[in-house]
């Protein structure tokens, strides 16, 4: 029997950060991971292939700071990558340093409009980041408490930030943030690969199409940390290693290949966890990085109110993003892509309308016949070359299930689609891996294999994330907290959910 101040169930990004934050505050912490290695969904990989996540764009400097990791850590700074919106006519469009270029290097006519639009969204993102860096507003804390005061201060700061925008821009912000990305983008840009790229970024990992109201928020969320996309040095595994190292340095006990079979509750307070191999670990505080329905199974439903479990069941989490890893024969450049863009993030989304059409089948539990793709080229430590592609839409609950033939079809569609824009790519491919959301769910426990464990729609954000009444991390019995991507502000290898949860837990159990 071992005694801790806190136990973190699930060693994904948010679990590691939550553990490290608590450890650095002097708590004796144990982080328990079911799998053989830490990192959860971010570093999940099959047969030595590329990890699920393949780039950083939203990792919170604040979360890193509270974890004790230098933001200039060599792994994290890595290498900035540009974006290319692929075009079937070979005239690809490159986005670099805030401008848009044709393949031949001349500036694209939509460059200015794109720049202004993204600039505006980044400004909004900066404002909303203030909300992301704390529990969502609207807590129950007594009116004179410190936490309440801090919340008022934060909201006041946000108000001042809004005010600074000026009246017109403030009003526009309140409109745009509620709007759909299709309309907002096409108000300023004609439909085409530039608009398509923005639409694709807005729906990545989500079960929604660009015409759905609220999708601008997703785009703003992505741009909340400036929008720079980084390929971490050493890949996502190195990022996870850095976090594991930070957790160890903070004094955390790290258990892997250990499954928690029960979160123990007595007298409406957590007392610890029971592992599958029969160990009892005691702690007055348990932070669960697994989604709320699974957490609920670990405690048993009795410790929650019926309304809570009903809301948990109604959380929408349909994963729609599959991972298709294409193994390349060697380091040779892909046809039609300039050398300087060799490592770029490739987007296949020829128009916003294309993205919307791709979404249609997903609504009816079918895969897109013309999918939206984000692909990044990576070289793994073993010297293998891959094109790591995120392919949408491939819904977790596909009609008839993800049979081998469905998997093959998805792989083929991915290759066909990319080959249309990069003719000859097919000849570079020597192997494939296709990982569908249901596999991701089976391997990581993420509901529906969803990136954020819960859809990032307006009705599941802020005080409604993951559900009404559980948004401030505390979950049922005293000492139990959620700290995963399904909580505010969400997932995306960001780390704020874990960090906020840890700080909230500390405050609550003081």
């Amino acid at each position: 029997m071992s005694n801790y101040d806190a136990i973190v169930v699930g060693g994904g990004i948010n679990g590691l950060i939550a553990g490290a934050v608590l450890g650095r505050k002097g708590k004796k912490v144990c982080i328990i991971e079911k799998a053989g290695s830490f990192g959860g969904m971010a570093s999940y990989a099959v047969d030595g292939g590329p990890s699920l996540a393949h780039a950083l764009y939203n990792l919170s400097p604040l979360a890193l700071k509270d974890t004790g990791i230098d933001a200039d850590h060599a792994t994290l700074t890595g290498q900035q990558i540009d974006t290319v919106s692929l075009s079937s006519d070979g005239n690809h469009i490159a986005f670099k340093e805030g401008r848009v270029y044709w393949n031949d290097g001349t500036e694209h006519p939509q460059s200015q409009a794109w720049r202004e639009l993204t600039h505006r969204l980044k400004t909004y993102g900066g404002l909303l980041r203030q909300l992301a860096e704390a529990p969502p507003p609207g807590g129950h804390s007594a009116s004179l408490s410190r936490a309440r005061f801090a919340e008022m201060l934060r909201l006041a700061k946000l108000g001042v930030g809004l005010k600074k925008l000026g009246k017109t821009e403030m009003r526009r912000f309140l409109q745009v943030v509620l709007s759909n990305v299709y309309d907002i983008v096409l108000d300023d840009l004609p439909d085409g690969p530039v608009a398509g790229m923005l639409a694709a970024d807005a729906i990545r990992g989500a079960a929604t199409g660009p015409r759905s109201p609220g999708t601008v928020f997703n785009l703003i969320y992505r741009l909340g940390h400036g929008g720079t996309i980084t390929r971490p040095a050493g890949g996502m595994t190195a990022v996870v290693d850095a976090l594991v190292e930070a957790a160890r340095a903070a004094g955390c006990t790290m258990l892997h290949e250990t499954e928690v079979s029960r979160i123990l509750v007595d007298e409406d307070a957590v007392t610890g966890v029971l592992t599958a191999d029969g160990q009892t670990l005691n702690a007055p505080m348990v932070l669960s990085n697994v989604a709320s329905p699974l957490t609920c199974k670990l405690t048993g439903p009795s410790v929650f109110d019926i309304e809570t479990t009903r809301r948990i069941r109604n959380i929408r989490a349909r994963g729609t993003a599959a991972k298709v890893n294409l193994r390349l024969k060697d380091a040779s450049p892909l046809p039609g892509l300039k050398d300087e863009l060799k490592g770029a993030r490739l987007i296949y989304a020829p128009s916003a309308a294309y993205v919307e059409t791709a979404f249609n089948p997903a609504k009816y539990r079918e895969m897109s016949k013309a999918p939206v793709i984000e692909a990044i080229r990576t070289e793994l430590p073993d010297g293998s070359h891959w094109l790591s592609a995120i392919v949408q839409y491939a819904p977790s609950d596909i009609e008839g299930g993800w049979t081998q033939s469905a998997l093959d079809q998805l792989t083929q569609l991915t290759i066909d689609t990319l080959d249309r824009a990069v003719p000859g790519l097919r000849d570079h491919i020597v192997g494939t891996q296709t990982i569908t959301p249901d596999q991701i769910q089976a391997a990581t426990g993420a509901p529906g294999g969803h990136w954020h464990h819960a859809e990032m729609s307006l009705d599941q954000l802020l005080t409604l994330r993951p559900s009404n009444g559980t948004s401030r991390y505390a979950f049922g019995p005293k000492g139990l907290f959620l700290c995963g991507a399904a909580t505010h502000p969400g997932g995306d290898v960001m780390g704020l959910a874990g960090r906020n949860a840890a700080l909230t837990a500390l405050e609550a159990l003081k």
């Binding site: 609207g138 129950h140 009246k167 017109t168 403030m170 009003r171 526009r172 309140l174 409109q175 745009v176 509620l178 709007s179 759909n180 309309d183 108000d187 929604t208 015409r211 759905s212 109201p213 609220g214 109604n314 929408r316 919307e356 059409t357 249609n360 609504k363 009816y364 729609s457 307006l458 009705d459 005080t463 409604l464 009404n468 009444g469 948004s471």
Partner: protein, 545 residues
């Protein structure tokens, strides 16, 4: 010949909102002129006889949203308005079954239980949630939407009212409210019910008139928009205006004229005149010019700004916002004269629910696919239809023994897609007829003999609705009811309180808060704003609205 005349205020467009604004102003002692391009009044709240002996509610066809405060303030029953609630409704299926929505709650529960015992029980929680939202929103309809960027006492006051109401909900209910307002009707129904047919029946109100699908976030609000009315206090009840929807406009017009108002029909406004940023009056297409220091436009914001005022003098961000205002045609309408009551083989003989709204959609997926068709510029292969036979209740609509059927159709695009070319010009007679055939096929799911019953039929695509009524793209709400176009964002940020950047020019139609439907609230609210800004006494004294 130019006839010149001077008024205190001119209202452009004799729709129900324009007339409402005019009637309030006239009662406050202003000398008001209403100008209307058609030879008749009413806008989309109109009754016309296109085939001898039958009367159509050509556009809007049922009534619930008309604020009771307005009916009382303007004394509408005295001027002939009689609203009769209708009972129930039904959804018919292709396999010959139906789901009947009885107004009797016991019968409804038993009928629901016939399809799903759990849904019959769940309906209680569902209606409780909807009713709570109705109760929350109703007080806001006849108030101004506060400008969140303003520090004026009025705005702060309205904002404080909003915060007070929200706070009064308590944290749990506030969360439920925020969720309801931002979610899709499909998700909301999925949370409550298991039966496809019941869900499809209830979902219709979430998409009527809007360019969104049942699974688009925000459609739960659209449903609320259709539930927040009442008849004699029965929240969510719908009814017919005796004599068709034109009876509403006619009553408001009569109330207006009785207080000294003038209506000029048959000539549309060519231009809203302004000088040095101040409105002067209007010039009509027939060459007449009328002068007034106040002009209230019942036209939608796009038509008003893009076609009838000098945009040179307007702030650029305003005109840009107006240009980006989303006002998409998504609905069509069939009005049918029937020689006798059609046969509904699936319905029990002499049932009451045929007097209500009837549909033939069987699942949420079917409704969502109907939306996908529209996104691509086609009318839905299996459109959602909202079909009623008001002549069962209102004896004035058709000759004795004969009947009138009104069929609302969702979705039909304005810019019809023919081989990749999307244009309203594609709405040829042939296309219109083809759409009518699609709709008749849908109707025949409920009444197979429909084609034999038709004596006359009026088919209105979004283009006809635009041409006749003047609604841009045929959008029945004068602008989408999405979050980014509601409340302080309606019609565009910064201009949600009825005044427009030209001094003395106001918006009094459904483009303004709180939006569309035969509600009268935008008209009443606009009149209140006008009286406050433009007259010395400044108040709509003694009126509830």
């Amino acid at each position: 010949m130019t006839l010149e005349s001077r008024y205190d205020a001119i209202v452009v467009g004799a729709g129900h909102n324009g007339l409402t604004a005019a009637a309030y102003m006239a009662r406050a002692g202003m000398n008001v002129l209403v100008v209307e391009k058609n030879d008749w009044i009413g806008g989309a709240a109109v009754s016309r006889s296109l085939h001898d002996g039958w009367t159509y509610s050509n556009c809007s066809y049922v009534c619930s949203l008309l604020r009771r405060e307005i009916a009382r303030d303007l004394d509408l029953p005295k001027y002939g308005l009689q609203v009769i609630p209708y009972e129930g409704g039904a959804s018919f299926t292709r396999d010959g079954d139906h789901f009947a929505y009885y107004s009797d709650h016991n019968a409804l529960r038993r009928e629901m239980a016939r399809h799903s015992a759990r849904d019959a029980d769940a309906y209680r929680a569902y209606s409780q949630a909807i009713m709570r939202q109705c109760r929350f929103i109703r007080p806001f309809l006849l108030r101004d939407a506060p400008d969140p960027a303003s520090l004026r006492p009025r705005d702060l006051g309205e904002l404080a009212y909003l915060v007070k109401k929200a706070h009064g909900l308590g944290s749990r209910e506030l969360g439920e409210t925020l969720k309801f307002w931002t979610m899709s009707i499909g998700d909301f129904l999925d949370e409550h019910f298991e039966n496809d047919l019941i869900k499809a029946h209830l979902a219709g109100s979430g998409i009527i008139g809007t360019g969104l699908g049942v699974y688009s976030p925000g459609t739960a609000y659209v449903l609320l928009h259709h539930y927040m009315g009442d008849i004699d206090g029965g929240i969510g009840a719908w009814g017919f205006a005796r004599g068709g929807m034109g009876a509403i406009s006619n009553a408001i017009a009569a109330s207006f004229k009785d207080h000294g108002g003038t209506i000029h029909t048959g000539a549309g406004v060519e231009k809203i005149l302004s000088k040095d940023g101040r409105v002067q009056g209007v010039a009509l297409e027939d060459g007449k010019v009328f002068y007034a220091p106040v002009v209230a436009s019942n036209m939608d914001i796009k038509r008003t700004i893009q076609h009838h005022v000098d945009t040179d003098d307007l702030p650029q961000d305003f005109t840009k916002a107006v240009n980006n205002f989303k006002i998409r045609g998504s609905s069509a309408k069939l009005n049918i004269s029937l020689d006798q009551f059609p046969d509904f083989p699936a319905a029990p003989e002499h049932t009451s629910f045929l007097r209500g709204d009837m549909h033939v959609s069987e699942s949420l997926f079917e409704l969502e696919r109907a939306y996908d068709d529209w996104k691509d510029g086609r009318w839905s292969e299996k459109p959602y239809i909202d079909m009623l036979i008001p002549s069962q209740i209102d004896p004035t609509m058709a000759p004795t023994g004969a009947h009138m059927m009104t069929v609302f159709v969702q979705y039909a695009p304005y810019d019809l897609n023919i081989d990749g070319n999307r244009s309203a010009d594609n709405w040829t007679d042939a296309q219109r007829n083809a759409m009518a055939e699609t709709v008749l096929n849908q109707i025949s799911v409920a009444c197979p003999d429909i084609r034999d019953r038709v004596v006359h039929m009026e088919v209105r695509s979004p283009l006809e609705i635009e041409r006749e009524v003047g609604l841009t793209e045929g959008n029945i709400f004068q602008g989408e009811l999405t979050f980014d176009q509601l409340f302080f964002n309606r019609p565009v940020p910064g201009w949600s309180q009825y005044s427009l950047p030209i001094k003395g020019l106001y918006l009094c139609g459904s483009s303004a808060h709180p939006g569309g439907g035969v509600m009268g609230a935008p008209g009443a609210n606009a009149a209140r704003a006008i009286l406050r800004h433009e007259t010395r006494h400044g108040r709509m004294k003694g009126y509830a609205a």
